[in-house]
Amino acid sequence: MQDIILEIRGLSKKFNLHLLGDKVITAFQNASFVLKRGEFLGISGKSGSGKSSLIKCIYRTYLPTEGEIVYYPKNRIPIDLAKCLDEEIIDLRHRKIGYVSQFFHAIPRVSCLKIVTQTLIQQGVDKDRAKRRAKNMLLRLLIPERLFDAYPSTFSGGERQRVNIAQALVKKAELLLLDEPTASLDKTSRVIVLGEILKLKKKGISTIGIFHDDEELKRFADRILVLEEGKIKEIYENDKDH
Protein backbone atom coordinates (compact mmCIF):
# COMPACT_ATOMS: atom_id res chain seq x y z
CA MET A 1 0.00 0.00 0.00
CA GLN A 2 1.51 3.28 -1.11
CA ASP A 3 1.94 5.74 1.67
CA ILE A 4 0.00 8.95 1.77
CA ILE A 5 1.50 12.41 1.52
CA LEU A 6 -1.66 14.48 1.82
CA GLU A 7 -4.99 13.72 3.43
CA ILE A 8 -7.88 16.15 2.98
CA ARG A 9 -10.82 15.63 5.33
CA GLY A 10 -14.08 17.53 5.14
CA LEU A 11 -12.49 20.61 3.64
CA SER A 12 -14.75 23.58 2.94
CA LYS A 13 -14.13 27.12 1.81
CA LYS A 14 -16.69 29.88 2.19
CA PHE A 15 -16.08 33.59 1.60
CA ASN A 16 -17.85 36.05 3.86
CA LEU A 17 -17.95 39.34 2.01
CA HIS A 18 -18.60 41.85 4.79
CA LEU A 19 -18.54 44.78 2.41
CA LEU A 20 -21.47 43.30 0.49
CA GLY A 21 -23.64 42.97 3.53
CA ASP A 22 -22.08 39.76 4.78
CA LYS A 23 -22.77 37.85 1.65
CA VAL A 24 -21.48 34.27 1.81
CA ILE A 25 -20.06 32.59 -1.26
CA THR A 26 -19.19 28.92 -1.09
CA ALA A 27 -16.21 27.89 -3.20
CA PHE A 28 -16.42 24.22 -2.33
CA GLN A 29 -17.62 22.06 0.51
CA ASN A 30 -16.85 18.87 2.28
CA ALA A 31 -13.95 17.77 0.11
CA SER A 32 -12.29 14.59 1.26
CA PHE A 33 -9.57 12.75 -0.61
CA VAL A 34 -5.99 11.58 -0.35
CA LEU A 35 -2.86 12.12 -2.38
CA LYS A 36 -0.46 9.20 -2.41
CA ARG A 37 3.27 9.78 -2.39
CA GLY A 38 4.59 10.03 -5.95
CA GLU A 39 1.11 10.29 -7.37
CA PHE A 40 -0.23 12.82 -9.83
CA LEU A 41 -3.77 13.78 -8.96
CA GLY A 42 -5.49 15.76 -11.65
CA ILE A 43 -8.40 18.05 -10.86
CA SER A 44 -10.99 18.74 -13.48
CA GLY A 45 -14.25 20.57 -13.52
CA LYS A 46 -15.99 23.48 -15.14
CA SER A 47 -14.89 27.04 -14.58
CA GLY A 48 -16.14 28.18 -11.19
CA SER A 49 -16.40 24.67 -9.80
CA GLY A 50 -13.89 25.46 -7.05
CA LYS A 51 -10.70 23.92 -8.46
CA SER A 52 -8.44 26.94 -7.92
CA SER A 53 -9.89 27.58 -4.48
CA LEU A 54 -9.09 24.03 -3.46
CA ILE A 55 -5.47 24.37 -4.48
CA LYS A 56 -5.21 27.79 -2.86
CA CYS A 57 -6.54 26.33 0.38
CA ILE A 58 -3.84 23.69 0.36
CA TYR A 59 -1.21 26.37 -0.26
CA ARG A 60 -2.88 28.50 2.43
CA THR A 61 -3.43 31.49 0.19
CA TYR A 62 -7.03 30.90 1.23
CA LEU A 63 -7.90 30.13 4.82
CA PRO A 64 -10.00 26.96 4.94
CA THR A 65 -13.36 27.45 6.64
CA GLU A 66 -13.64 23.87 7.86
CA GLY A 67 -11.77 20.62 7.64
CA GLU A 68 -8.20 19.35 7.74
CA ILE A 69 -5.33 19.20 5.33
CA VAL A 70 -2.92 16.74 6.84
CA TYR A 71 0.49 16.77 5.25
CA TYR A 72 2.83 13.85 5.85
CA PRO A 73 6.35 15.05 5.00
CA LYS A 74 8.89 12.30 4.51
CA ASN A 75 10.38 11.20 7.84
CA ARG A 76 8.70 14.00 9.76
CA ILE A 77 5.63 14.40 11.93
CA PRO A 78 2.40 15.07 10.08
CA ILE A 79 1.05 18.63 10.18
CA ASP A 80 -2.41 20.07 9.52
CA LEU A 81 -1.85 22.82 6.99
CA ALA A 82 -5.26 24.29 7.75
CA LYS A 83 -4.41 24.99 11.36
CA CYS A 84 -0.64 25.28 11.66
CA LEU A 85 1.23 28.53 12.32
CA ASP A 86 1.88 30.99 9.52
CA GLU A 87 5.55 30.64 10.20
CA GLU A 88 5.39 26.90 9.59
CA ILE A 89 3.67 27.47 6.25
CA ILE A 90 6.40 29.90 5.23
CA ASP A 91 8.97 27.30 6.07
CA LEU A 92 7.14 24.59 4.12
CA ARG A 93 6.69 26.87 1.13
CA HIS A 94 10.41 27.50 1.06
CA ARG A 95 11.52 23.93 1.35
CA LYS A 96 8.81 21.42 0.61
CA ILE A 97 5.88 22.79 -1.33
CA GLY A 98 5.98 24.29 -4.78
CA TYR A 99 3.15 26.25 -6.37
CA VAL A 100 2.41 27.49 -9.85
CA SER A 101 -0.40 30.01 -9.73
CA GLN A 102 -2.76 30.66 -12.55
CA PHE A 103 -1.71 34.29 -12.90
CA PHE A 104 1.82 35.29 -12.17
CA HIS A 105 2.09 38.43 -10.04
CA ALA A 106 5.38 39.73 -11.32
CA ILE A 107 7.37 41.29 -8.48
CA PRO A 108 8.54 44.55 -9.93
CA ARG A 109 12.22 45.35 -10.49
CA VAL A 110 13.52 41.84 -9.85
CA SER A 111 15.09 39.99 -12.76
CA CYS A 112 13.73 36.58 -13.64
CA LEU A 113 17.10 35.03 -12.82
CA LYS A 114 16.98 36.60 -9.39
CA ILE A 115 13.45 35.34 -8.76
CA VAL A 116 14.39 31.77 -9.52
CA THR A 117 17.75 31.95 -7.75
CA GLN A 118 16.13 33.39 -4.65
CA THR A 119 13.71 30.46 -4.26
CA LEU A 120 16.70 28.11 -4.13
CA ILE A 121 18.61 30.29 -1.69
CA GLN A 122 15.58 30.29 0.59
CA GLN A 123 15.67 26.53 0.41
CA GLY A 124 19.21 26.59 1.76
CA VAL A 125 21.17 26.12 -1.45
CA ASP A 126 24.39 28.14 -1.62
CA LYS A 127 24.49 31.20 -3.86
CA ASP A 128 26.62 29.88 -6.73
CA ARG A 129 24.88 26.55 -7.07
CA ALA A 130 21.51 28.26 -6.82
CA LYS A 131 22.42 30.60 -9.68
CA ARG A 132 23.62 27.74 -11.85
CA ARG A 133 20.52 25.64 -11.30
CA ALA A 134 18.31 28.67 -11.88
CA LYS A 135 20.01 29.42 -15.19
CA ASN A 136 19.65 25.81 -16.25
CA MET A 137 15.97 25.68 -15.50
CA LEU A 138 15.26 28.96 -17.28
CA LEU A 139 17.11 27.73 -20.37
CA ARG A 140 15.22 24.45 -20.30
CA LEU A 141 11.98 26.40 -20.29
CA LEU A 142 13.18 28.34 -23.30
CA ILE A 143 13.90 31.63 -21.54
CA PRO A 144 16.99 32.84 -23.42
CA GLU A 145 20.11 34.05 -21.62
CA ARG A 146 19.68 37.60 -22.85
CA LEU A 147 16.49 37.85 -20.78
CA PHE A 148 18.07 36.64 -17.53
CA ASP A 149 18.59 40.17 -16.22
CA ALA A 150 15.28 41.46 -17.52
CA TYR A 151 12.21 42.06 -15.39
CA PRO A 152 9.28 39.64 -15.93
CA SER A 153 6.95 42.62 -15.69
CA THR A 154 8.13 43.42 -19.20
CA PHE A 155 7.64 39.88 -20.53
CA SER A 156 4.81 38.42 -22.55
CA GLY A 157 2.18 36.34 -20.76
CA GLY A 158 3.74 33.11 -21.88
CA GLU A 159 7.25 34.12 -20.84
CA ARG A 160 5.96 35.25 -17.46
CA GLN A 161 4.23 31.97 -16.90
CA ARG A 162 7.38 30.06 -17.76
CA VAL A 163 9.31 32.04 -15.15
CA ASN A 164 6.55 31.20 -12.72
CA ILE A 165 6.88 27.54 -13.54
CA ALA A 166 10.67 27.71 -13.33
CA GLN A 167 10.60 28.98 -9.75
CA ALA A 168 8.31 26.13 -8.73
CA LEU A 169 10.02 23.31 -10.59
CA VAL A 170 13.58 24.25 -9.72
CA LYS A 171 12.85 23.70 -6.07
CA LYS A 172 12.53 19.93 -6.28
CA ALA A 173 9.83 20.20 -3.67
CA GLU A 174 8.10 17.23 -2.15
CA LEU A 175 4.65 18.46 -3.07
CA LEU A 176 3.78 20.36 -6.20
CA LEU A 177 0.58 22.33 -6.69
CA LEU A 178 -0.21 23.39 -10.24
CA ASP A 179 -3.02 25.72 -11.22
CA GLU A 180 -3.42 25.68 -15.00
CA PRO A 181 0.32 25.97 -15.61
CA THR A 182 0.10 25.72 -19.37
CA ALA A 183 -2.89 27.98 -19.93
CA SER A 184 -1.10 30.85 -21.64
CA LEU A 185 1.62 28.82 -23.38
CA ASP A 186 2.06 28.01 -27.04
CA LYS A 187 2.37 24.45 -28.20
CA THR A 188 6.16 24.18 -28.07
CA SER A 189 6.43 25.63 -24.59
CA ARG A 190 3.60 23.45 -23.43
CA VAL A 191 5.37 20.32 -24.56
CA ILE A 192 8.54 21.35 -22.78
CA VAL A 193 6.79 22.28 -19.56
CA LEU A 194 4.90 19.04 -19.50
CA GLY A 195 8.16 17.22 -20.11
CA GLU A 196 9.71 18.88 -17.07
CA ILE A 197 6.70 18.00 -14.94
CA LEU A 198 6.96 14.42 -16.08
CA LYS A 199 10.64 14.36 -15.11
CA LEU A 200 9.72 15.48 -11.62
CA LYS A 201 7.01 12.89 -11.42
CA LYS A 202 9.53 10.21 -12.26
CA LYS A 203 11.70 11.50 -9.39
CA GLY A 204 8.81 10.73 -7.08
CA ILE A 205 7.38 14.16 -6.51
CA SER A 206 3.69 14.22 -5.59
CA THR A 207 1.54 16.59 -7.58
CA ILE A 208 -1.95 18.02 -7.61
CA GLY A 209 -2.63 19.70 -10.90
CA ILE A 210 -5.42 21.56 -12.63
CA PHE A 211 -5.08 21.40 -16.39
CA HIS A 212 -6.95 23.47 -18.83
CA ASP A 213 -6.74 20.78 -21.44
CA ASP A 214 -8.49 17.52 -20.64
CA GLU A 215 -6.14 15.70 -22.98
CA GLU A 216 -3.08 16.85 -21.06
CA LEU A 217 -4.78 15.86 -17.85
CA LYS A 218 -5.35 12.39 -19.14
CA ARG A 219 -1.69 12.10 -20.15
CA PHE A 220 -0.34 12.69 -16.65
CA ALA A 221 -2.81 11.98 -13.99
CA ASP A 222 -2.79 8.74 -12.08
CA ARG A 223 -6.19 9.62 -10.75
CA ILE A 224 -8.61 12.35 -11.65
CA LEU A 225 -10.84 14.23 -9.21
CA VAL A 226 -13.88 15.88 -10.68
CA LEU A 227 -15.40 18.91 -9.01
CA GLU A 228 -18.91 20.08 -9.80
CA GLU A 229 -20.45 23.13 -8.19
CA GLY A 230 -18.15 22.96 -5.23
CA LYS A 231 -18.57 19.29 -4.48
CA ILE A 232 -16.49 16.28 -5.40
CA LYS A 233 -18.46 14.38 -8.00
CA GLU A 234 -16.08 11.48 -8.41
CA ILE A 235 -12.46 10.34 -8.21
CA TYR A 236 -11.40 7.72 -10.71
CA GLU A 237 -8.27 5.92 -11.82
CA ASN A 238 -6.91 7.17 -15.07
CA ASP A 239 -5.97 4.74 -17.81
CA LYS A 240 -2.85 6.13 -19.35
CA ASP A 241 -1.07 5.00 -22.45
CA HIS A 242 2.42 5.26 -21.04
Binding site: L19, D86, I90, D91, I121
Partner: protein, 270 residues
Amino acid sequence: MRDWILKVENLTKIYGDGCPNCLKSETNKCSFCRATIAVNSVSLTLYGGEILGIMGESGSGKSTLVRNLYFDIPPTLGEAYLNKERRNIFELNSQEKRKLRNFNMGMVYQSPYLGLNFEITAGGNVAEKLLMANWRSYSNIRRRLIDLFEKTELPLNRMDDFSATLSGGMQQRIQIAKALANNPEILFLDEPTSGLDLSVQARLLDLIKKIQQELKISIILVSHDLGVIRLLAGRVLVMREGRIIESGLTDQILEDPQHPYTQLLVNSML
Protein backbone atom coordinates in the same frame (compact mmCIF):
# COMPACT_ATOMS: atom_id res chain seq x y z
CA MET B 1 11.90 25.74 11.65
CA ARG B 2 13.63 29.00 12.42
CA ASP B 3 13.91 30.19 15.99
CA TRP B 4 12.07 33.20 17.23
CA ILE B 5 14.03 36.38 17.78
CA LEU B 6 11.43 38.50 19.56
CA LYS B 7 8.34 37.54 21.46
CA VAL B 8 5.89 40.17 22.63
CA GLU B 9 3.08 39.41 25.09
CA ASN B 10 0.14 41.67 25.85
CA LEU B 11 1.93 44.89 25.14
CA THR B 12 -0.23 47.82 26.17
CA LYS B 13 0.33 51.57 26.13
CA ILE B 14 -2.18 53.83 27.84
CA TYR B 15 -1.88 57.61 27.78
CA GLY B 16 -3.68 59.04 30.77
CA ASP B 17 -4.58 57.60 34.14
CA GLY B 18 -6.23 54.47 32.89
CA CYS B 19 -8.85 52.40 34.66
CA PRO B 20 -9.79 48.71 34.88
CA ASN B 21 -12.13 49.11 31.93
CA CYS B 22 -9.56 50.44 29.48
CA LEU B 23 -8.46 47.11 28.05
CA LYS B 24 -12.04 46.16 27.25
CA SER B 25 -12.62 49.30 25.26
CA GLU B 26 -13.58 48.74 21.64
CA THR B 27 -11.95 51.89 20.42
CA ASN B 28 -8.67 53.39 21.48
CA LYS B 29 -10.43 55.88 23.77
CA CYS B 30 -11.76 54.57 27.06
CA SER B 31 -15.32 55.73 27.55
CA PHE B 32 -14.97 55.56 31.35
CA CYS B 33 -11.79 57.49 32.02
CA ARG B 34 -11.05 59.23 28.71
CA ALA B 35 -7.59 57.68 28.56
CA THR B 36 -6.14 56.78 25.17
CA ILE B 37 -5.20 53.14 24.76
CA ALA B 38 -2.72 53.52 21.96
CA VAL B 39 -1.67 49.86 22.04
CA ASN B 40 -4.04 47.29 23.46
CA SER B 41 -2.80 43.85 24.49
CA VAL B 42 -0.66 43.18 21.45
CA SER B 43 1.15 39.88 21.20
CA LEU B 44 3.42 38.85 18.36
CA THR B 45 6.40 36.70 17.48
CA LEU B 46 9.20 37.66 15.13
CA TYR B 47 11.15 34.78 13.61
CA GLY B 48 14.75 34.86 12.46
CA GLY B 49 15.36 36.22 8.99
CA GLU B 50 11.77 37.21 8.24
CA ILE B 51 10.07 40.48 7.44
CA LEU B 52 6.96 40.91 9.57
CA GLY B 53 4.63 43.61 8.33
CA ILE B 54 2.46 45.69 10.62
CA MET B 55 -0.28 47.26 8.64
CA GLY B 56 -2.67 49.92 9.87
CA GLU B 57 -4.04 53.34 9.24
CA SER B 58 -3.23 56.48 11.21
CA GLY B 59 -3.96 56.11 14.89
CA SER B 60 -3.87 52.33 14.80
CA GLY B 61 -1.00 52.24 17.27
CA LYS B 62 1.52 50.64 14.95
CA SER B 63 4.19 53.29 15.40
CA THR B 64 3.68 53.38 19.15
CA LEU B 65 4.14 49.63 19.18
CA VAL B 66 7.58 49.69 17.61
CA ARG B 67 8.62 52.70 19.65
CA ASN B 68 7.71 50.71 22.76
CA LEU B 69 9.94 47.90 21.56
CA TYR B 70 12.80 50.27 20.77
CA PHE B 71 12.59 51.76 24.27
CA ASP B 72 11.59 55.19 23.00
CA ILE B 73 8.29 55.09 24.84
CA PRO B 74 7.84 52.98 27.98
CA PRO B 75 4.86 50.60 27.77
CA THR B 76 2.16 50.51 30.42
CA LEU B 77 1.82 46.74 30.53
CA GLY B 78 3.21 43.71 28.84
CA GLU B 79 6.40 41.81 28.28
CA ALA B 80 8.85 41.25 25.51
CA TYR B 81 11.63 38.73 25.21
CA LEU B 82 14.66 38.85 23.00
CA ASN B 83 15.99 35.44 22.07
CA LYS B 84 19.14 35.77 24.13
CA GLU B 85 17.62 37.61 27.05
CA ARG B 86 15.70 35.45 29.50
CA ARG B 87 14.16 38.41 31.27
CA ASN B 88 11.39 40.74 30.18
CA ILE B 89 13.34 43.44 28.36
CA PHE B 90 11.11 46.16 29.81
CA GLU B 91 12.38 45.28 33.25
CA LEU B 92 16.02 45.74 32.44
CA ASN B 93 17.78 48.79 33.84
CA SER B 94 18.51 51.71 31.54
CA GLN B 95 22.10 50.61 30.95
CA GLU B 96 21.02 47.17 29.80
CA LYS B 97 18.27 48.66 27.64
CA ARG B 98 20.76 50.99 26.04
CA LYS B 99 23.02 48.08 25.30
CA LEU B 100 20.21 46.21 23.57
CA ARG B 101 19.27 49.33 21.65
CA ASN B 102 22.83 49.86 20.46
CA PHE B 103 23.84 46.35 19.65
CA ASN B 104 20.77 44.26 19.01
CA MET B 105 18.35 46.68 17.43
CA GLY B 106 18.22 49.27 14.69
CA MET B 107 15.47 51.77 13.95
CA VAL B 108 14.50 53.80 10.91
CA TYR B 109 11.95 56.49 11.69
CA GLN B 110 9.37 57.85 9.34
CA SER B 111 10.85 61.29 9.64
CA PRO B 112 14.61 61.72 9.36
CA TYR B 113 14.31 64.45 11.98
CA LEU B 114 13.62 61.79 14.57
CA GLY B 115 16.44 59.53 13.57
CA LEU B 116 19.24 61.84 12.51
CA ASN B 117 21.20 64.71 14.02
CA PHE B 118 21.14 67.48 11.48
CA GLU B 119 24.03 69.35 13.08
CA ILE B 120 26.55 66.70 12.15
CA THR B 121 27.66 65.10 8.91
CA ALA B 122 26.02 62.09 7.26
CA GLY B 123 29.00 59.96 8.21
CA GLY B 124 28.94 61.41 11.72
CA ASN B 125 25.40 60.16 12.22
CA VAL B 126 26.43 56.63 11.37
CA ALA B 127 29.73 56.93 13.25
CA GLU B 128 27.79 57.81 16.40
CA LYS B 129 26.64 54.22 16.64
CA LEU B 130 30.15 52.90 16.18
CA LEU B 131 31.52 55.32 18.77
CA MET B 132 28.83 54.13 21.18
CA ALA B 133 30.21 50.66 20.63
CA ASN B 134 33.66 51.92 21.64
CA TRP B 135 35.31 52.07 18.24
CA ARG B 136 38.41 54.18 18.88
CA SER B 137 40.35 54.02 15.64
CA TYR B 138 39.49 56.79 13.21
CA SER B 139 40.61 54.86 10.14
CA ASN B 140 38.66 51.77 11.16
CA ILE B 141 35.59 53.93 11.61
CA ARG B 142 36.05 55.46 8.17
CA ARG B 143 36.46 52.05 6.61
CA ARG B 144 33.29 50.77 8.22
CA LEU B 145 31.44 53.91 7.11
CA ILE B 146 32.51 53.29 3.52
CA ASP B 147 31.29 49.72 3.82
CA LEU B 148 27.92 50.81 5.22
CA PHE B 149 27.51 53.59 2.68
CA GLU B 150 28.16 51.14 -0.13
CA LYS B 151 25.68 48.69 1.34
CA THR B 152 23.01 51.35 1.46
CA GLU B 153 23.91 52.79 -1.93
CA LEU B 154 24.85 56.18 -0.52
CA PRO B 155 27.38 58.20 -2.53
CA LEU B 156 30.73 58.18 -0.75
CA ASN B 157 31.46 61.77 -1.68
CA ARG B 158 28.56 62.92 0.51
CA MET B 159 29.87 61.25 3.63
CA ASP B 160 31.23 64.47 5.08
CA ASP B 161 28.34 66.67 4.06
CA PHE B 162 25.85 67.83 6.64
CA SER B 163 22.80 65.60 6.75
CA ALA B 164 20.51 68.52 6.06
CA THR B 165 22.01 68.92 2.61
CA LEU B 166 21.08 65.43 1.42
CA SER B 167 17.81 64.47 -0.25
CA GLY B 168 14.97 62.76 1.61
CA GLY B 169 15.74 59.40 0.07
CA MET B 170 19.38 59.69 1.03
CA GLN B 171 18.47 60.72 4.56
CA GLN B 172 16.44 57.58 4.94
CA ARG B 173 19.37 55.58 3.69
CA ILE B 174 21.63 57.23 6.26
CA GLN B 175 19.14 56.04 8.86
CA ILE B 176 19.39 52.54 7.47
CA ALA B 177 23.19 52.64 7.46
CA LYS B 178 23.11 53.88 11.04
CA ALA B 179 20.67 51.18 12.05
CA LEU B 180 22.88 48.47 10.55
CA ALA B 181 26.17 49.83 11.94
CA ASN B 182 26.53 47.38 14.81
CA ASN B 183 25.05 44.37 12.99
CA PRO B 184 21.82 44.18 14.96
CA GLU B 185 19.52 41.18 14.86
CA ILE B 186 16.36 43.23 14.56
CA LEU B 187 15.56 46.17 12.36
CA PHE B 188 12.48 48.31 13.00
CA LEU B 189 11.25 50.25 9.98
CA ASP B 190 8.54 52.77 10.79
CA GLU B 191 6.99 53.88 7.51
CA PRO B 192 10.45 54.32 5.99
CA THR B 193 9.19 55.52 2.63
CA SER B 194 6.45 57.96 3.62
CA GLY B 195 6.54 61.17 1.68
CA LEU B 196 9.22 60.04 -0.74
CA ASP B 197 8.91 60.20 -4.51
CA LEU B 198 7.76 57.01 -6.17
CA SER B 199 11.05 56.11 -7.79
CA VAL B 200 12.93 56.95 -4.60
CA GLN B 201 10.52 54.78 -2.66
CA ALA B 202 11.03 51.88 -5.04
CA ARG B 203 14.79 52.13 -4.74
CA LEU B 204 14.65 52.25 -0.98
CA LEU B 205 12.34 49.24 -0.73
CA ASP B 206 14.49 47.23 -3.11
CA LEU B 207 17.46 48.13 -0.97
CA ILE B 208 15.71 46.90 2.14
CA LYS B 209 14.88 43.66 0.41
CA LYS B 210 18.45 43.23 -0.76
CA ILE B 211 19.89 43.94 2.69
CA GLN B 212 17.49 41.51 4.29
CA GLN B 213 18.43 38.77 1.88
CA GLU B 214 22.16 39.37 2.31
CA LEU B 215 22.34 39.88 6.03
CA LYS B 216 19.41 37.61 6.96
CA ILE B 217 18.33 40.23 9.45
CA SER B 218 14.83 40.09 11.01
CA ILE B 219 12.68 43.10 10.24
CA ILE B 220 9.47 44.58 11.61
CA LEU B 221 8.07 46.81 8.90
CA VAL B 222 5.33 49.26 9.79
CA SER B 223 3.37 50.73 6.93
CA HIS B 224 -0.05 51.99 5.99
CA ASP B 225 0.71 51.10 2.37
CA LEU B 226 -0.40 47.60 1.41
CA GLY B 227 1.82 47.75 -1.66
CA VAL B 228 4.89 48.16 0.52
CA ILE B 229 3.75 45.30 2.73
CA ARG B 230 3.09 43.08 -0.24
CA LEU B 231 6.50 43.74 -1.68
CA LEU B 232 8.48 43.00 1.43
CA ALA B 233 6.60 41.19 4.17
CA GLY B 234 6.03 37.46 4.40
CA ARG B 235 3.54 37.78 7.24
CA VAL B 236 1.30 40.67 8.21
CA LEU B 237 -0.42 41.90 11.35
CA VAL B 238 -3.34 44.25 10.78
CA MET B 239 -3.85 46.82 13.50
CA ARG B 240 -6.83 48.98 14.30
CA GLU B 241 -7.59 51.11 17.36
CA GLY B 242 -4.55 49.68 19.10
CA ARG B 243 -5.40 46.02 18.58
CA ILE B 244 -4.31 43.35 16.17
CA ILE B 245 -7.51 42.44 14.39
CA GLU B 246 -6.08 39.95 11.94
CA SER B 247 -2.80 38.26 11.18
CA GLY B 248 -1.69 35.93 8.44
CA LEU B 249 0.49 35.28 5.45
CA THR B 250 0.76 38.29 3.20
CA ASP B 251 -0.76 36.58 0.18
CA GLN B 252 -3.59 35.24 2.32
CA ILE B 253 -4.37 38.61 3.85
CA LEU B 254 -4.43 40.17 0.42
CA GLU B 255 -6.41 37.46 -1.36
CA ASP B 256 -8.62 36.14 1.43
CA PRO B 257 -9.00 38.78 4.14
CA GLN B 258 -11.33 37.64 6.92
CA HIS B 259 -12.05 40.65 9.12
CA PRO B 260 -14.41 43.31 7.72
CA TYR B 261 -11.82 46.01 8.30
CA THR B 262 -9.12 44.06 6.50
CA GLN B 263 -11.49 43.51 3.61
CA LEU B 264 -12.10 47.25 3.53
CA LEU B 265 -8.35 47.96 3.45
CA VAL B 266 -7.63 45.43 0.74
CA ASN B 267 -10.49 46.78 -1.30
CA SER B 268 -9.08 50.28 -0.98
CA MET B 269 -5.83 49.47 -2.73
CA LEU B 270 -5.31 51.64 -5.73
